[in-house]
């Protein structure tokens, strides 16, 4: 029924827009994507088939714009959802539809919208298809700019969970002042942006055993200052008591949550230095009380380099919003052209060191039982459990017009128990890996390029752990591109150093694709290893699979 309303709504809006007798033209834009995957049984990698044989995820975005009016919708189809996606994504629907218009300084949106306040510590409404995350709010949002430099946002809505909404009602407001846009301050040497935000969730309390807060608020204040080559961003967020609503006393934590973010960077020609840090404690904010990943509506930015090479991201850092302290530092340097080390084109270097650890005594806790009460102290490294560390050097070197190279050497420590299960079980402990990557691309002739990736990972297990990790890996990738239309790719991951001889397996993947205009077709076959897939510190488990996949995307 909801879908019929959405269609009627769209037809109505289209007619309305077409009927507008204005000079601005009507624009229709959109994009489409479908991912089909077949699943075969492969007991060697624990891959199972599915009763449907093939699964398919598809969506289409449609955006209609005329002058100050914008309207859009998204059709989603999960028949049935690919493995690795929650089975609650099932069937077809139009979960996203909205109308928005701008009138002078006021922007009004009704329907679904995405929004982020500051760095997202108290509100980040976003979607990521790869992660299966979509917490779009449905309601209304007003953006208002009464004078240059002041930007106000206020919103109210319910958060999407799959094809439904969670129970809570979310209200929020954000004010941002860009001082240099204010009359008289345009020429200030310091570029500064100040912001403050507020988000509150309402959910009724029908728990007969505990007094639960029905209105849970979170506040944040932020400042971004740029002076010469130096850029500072700081944000502090605070969340009031937000117990999960359990019937068991030890599960209901009435402690406040907090997050402190401090980032500083320096840049000049050929040199950049960045240092980011945060302390977070009991700061997962959800659209309903219960602890479920689909309810999360805030975001703690990850403190690790976002690697794209497969073996470098085999053990990715997952942010722990309930408690972690860490930092991420980078030095970027370009060795100038026409020097001994720089060569004809210069050489880009990036040195990165990231580290996160537990907060002392774990997440702060407060309820009637005094013995459970605990306040985590700020900024402690010594004696804390390591969650993740990564020290790596990347060298990006163009040798001549034909050959380009990129080399990465990395040493990572990964607390598999905490980052995958959320607590120290002693099962795997900390897995240490040393990874080397060489990426070489060679231009054969105009339009023809071959690219090779050679990757290797040497793993050391935690001597105190009960179980072994996956051991050592090699990976090889060869990619041939005939621009602008064709690409072919072959890759193999080989778990040659698995402690279990039966698991010393190859994971081959082949794919080829055709691109023309805005259309892209890709067909592949391969074995995929079960693992963790992360985007910006938000992770999901991906099961192993063996099968064909077909991906088609286009835009209009």
């Amino acid at each position: 029924m909801k879908n019929i309303f959405s269609l009627i709504f769209l037809i109505f809006i289209s007619n309305f827009l077409i009927a507008q007798d204005e000079n601005s033209s009507l624009q229709i834009q959109g994009n489409f994507e479908t991912n089909l995957q077949s699943y075969f049984v492969d007991s060697s990698i624990d891959a199972t088939e599915v009763p449907e044989r093939v699964l398919n995820n598809a969506y289409l975005n449609l955006l209609i714009t005329k002058g100050n009016f914008t309207s859009g919708l998204r059709y989603e189809s999960y028949l049935n959802a690919l493995k690795g996606y929650d089975r609650q994504y099932q069937g077809n629907g139009i979960p996203i539809r909205f109308i928005s218009y701008i009138s002078d300084e006021l922007e009004v949106t009704v329907g679904n919208y995405y929004e982020q306040f500051g760095s997202g510590l108290i509100l980040r409404v976003y979607e990521d298809k790869g992660l299966g995350v979509d917490n779009a709010l449905d309601g209304l949002r007003l953006k208002y700019s009464p004078f240059n430099g002041l930007h106000l946002t206020s919103l109210i809505g319910k958060s999407r969970t799959y094809f439904d909404y969670s129970d809570g009602i979310i209200r929020g407001a954000d004010a941002e002042i860009i001082l240099n846009e204010i009359k008289g301050l345009e020429n200030s040497k310091m570029y500064s942006i100040m912001g403050a935000s507020f988000v509150s969730r309402f959910q009724s309390d029908n728990n007969p055993s505990f007094i639960l807060p029905e209105n849970v608020a979170a506040f944040a204040a932020r400042a971004n200052l740029q002076f010469g080559n130096i850029n500072y961003y700081g944000e502090y967020a605070h969340k009031i008591n937000d117990p999960v609503g359990s019937m068991v006393q030890s599960e209901n934590n009435y402690s406040n949550g907090k997050a402190i973010v401090n980032n500083i960077s320096y840049s000049q020609k050929g040199l950049g230095v960045t240092f980011e840090s945060h302390f977070v404690d009991h700061m997962e904010f959800r659209s309903a009380r219960a602890k479920k990943k689909e309810y999360i509506i805030n975001y703690i930015p990850t403190l690790s380099k976002q690697h794209t090479y497969t073996l470098l991201s085999l053990y990715p850092c997952a942010t722990q919003p309930e408690g972690e302290f860490g930092f991420n530092s980078n030095i970027f340097y370009k060795i100038p052209k026409n020097t001994l080390l720089g060569g004809k084109y210069g050489t880009k270097l990036n040195m990165n060191f990231a580290r996160t650890n537990s907060i002392s005594g774990g997440t702060s806790f407060l309820n009637d039982v005094d013995s459970l009460t605990h306040n985590a102290p700020l900024f402690k490294i010594k004696g804390e459990t390591l969650y993740f560390s990564d020290f790596n050097i990347e060298i990006d070197k163009k040798i001549n017009k034909i050959i380009k190279t990129n080399f990465v050497l990395s040493r990572q420590k990964y607390n598999k128990d905490v980052l995958e299960k959320g607590y120290e079980s002693g099962e795997y402990g900390i897995i240490t890996s040393t990874i080397a990557v060489a990426d070489i691309s060679y231009k054969i002739k105009k339009g023809h390029t071959i690219r090779m990736e050679l990757q290797t990972l040497r793993s050391e297990d935690d001597p105190n752990a009960e179980k072994n990790g996956d051991g050592d890996w090699h990976m090889l990738l060869a990619e041939y591109t005939i621009s602008p239309n064709w690409f072919f790719s072959v890759q193999d991951m080989y778990n040659y150093g698995n402690y279990d001889e039966k698991k010393r397996l190859h994971y081959p993947n082949v794919s080829f694709g055709y691109l023309k205009g805005t259309n892209r077709f890709a067909i592949g076959y391969g074995k995929k290893k079960a693992g963790i897939f992360c985007v910006g510190g938000i992770c999901k488990e991906v099961p192993s699979s063996n099968g064909f996949n077909l991906n088609i995307s286009s835009s209009f």
């Binding site: 089975r87 009464p146 106000l152 206020s154 004010a175 505990f210 007094i211 608020a217 599960e251 219960a290």
Partner: protein
Amino acid sequence: MKKNILYSALILFLTIFKSCDVIEGDYMIDGTTNSVDTTSVVKRVLIEDFTGHRCPNCPSAAAELEGIINTYGDRVIGIAIHPHSNFSIPNPLSSSQYTYDFRTEEGDNIDNIFQMTSGGLPVGMVNRIGFNGNHQLSKDEWGEKVQTELEKEPIFKINLSSDFTTSSGNISVEVEALTDLNNSYNIVVCLTENNIIEWQKDNNIDNENYNHKHVLRKMLNSTLGESIGDNLNSGDIWTKSFNVNISELENQNENYSLNTSFMGNGNCTGWIEDNIESIAYIYDNSNYEIVQVEKIHLKNN
């Protein structure tokens, strides 16, 4: 300009109503166990807790179930289902840990219908409400859903009686419609067992002496049960008697473990009759929603 600022202040004000409830202990409300009026028919609620002996977070869900039962007394009935998953596979009998096979054919069937293990354990259903899409509830959601369900009027009365003494006997079920009903309904009669002392992973502890409660043992009239009719009128009665022979039922589970279950080892017997309860629940065929549930001890007499 002034007018603009006034407007913007108004917009902000509209969003920041009284939206902050700071609670300052005591957080717990004293003496909240609901007393049950035994003279009239009450609505009871079924919680199905999907669990596994190797699931480290599952004991917290079992504790939640006990917390809810403590609060609402016998108005809430629990069943712990150990469906096939990585968390429930038993070790071979030669191992010293986790050798018990808690899985049952009907538990696996329910999981196939409701896809409970697909998103990880623990997870549960409260009266199976929200099917299909919102029925998979995390333990923190059970309490509030129970409260909502308890506020509904009962539409059936279930009377259970048992003449079971040792090793076999009969459970008699009598159902009475309390109002005129348009939909069609099924009844399921099953056995659960309390106080099975076996291994359980509890966070990072391997607990050898964990008390497994409400463990589903057998459904006496198949996974989806049988019809009690449609278009029932107020006062309509449905009755049936179910024969229970413990060793026969044990054999059925043993066969399933040995012949069907992945890595089943047949170690699923040793049922203790004194700890067995019989549960009967009625659900609406149109949406699987459980509308009434009742239980008795197998050795009721």
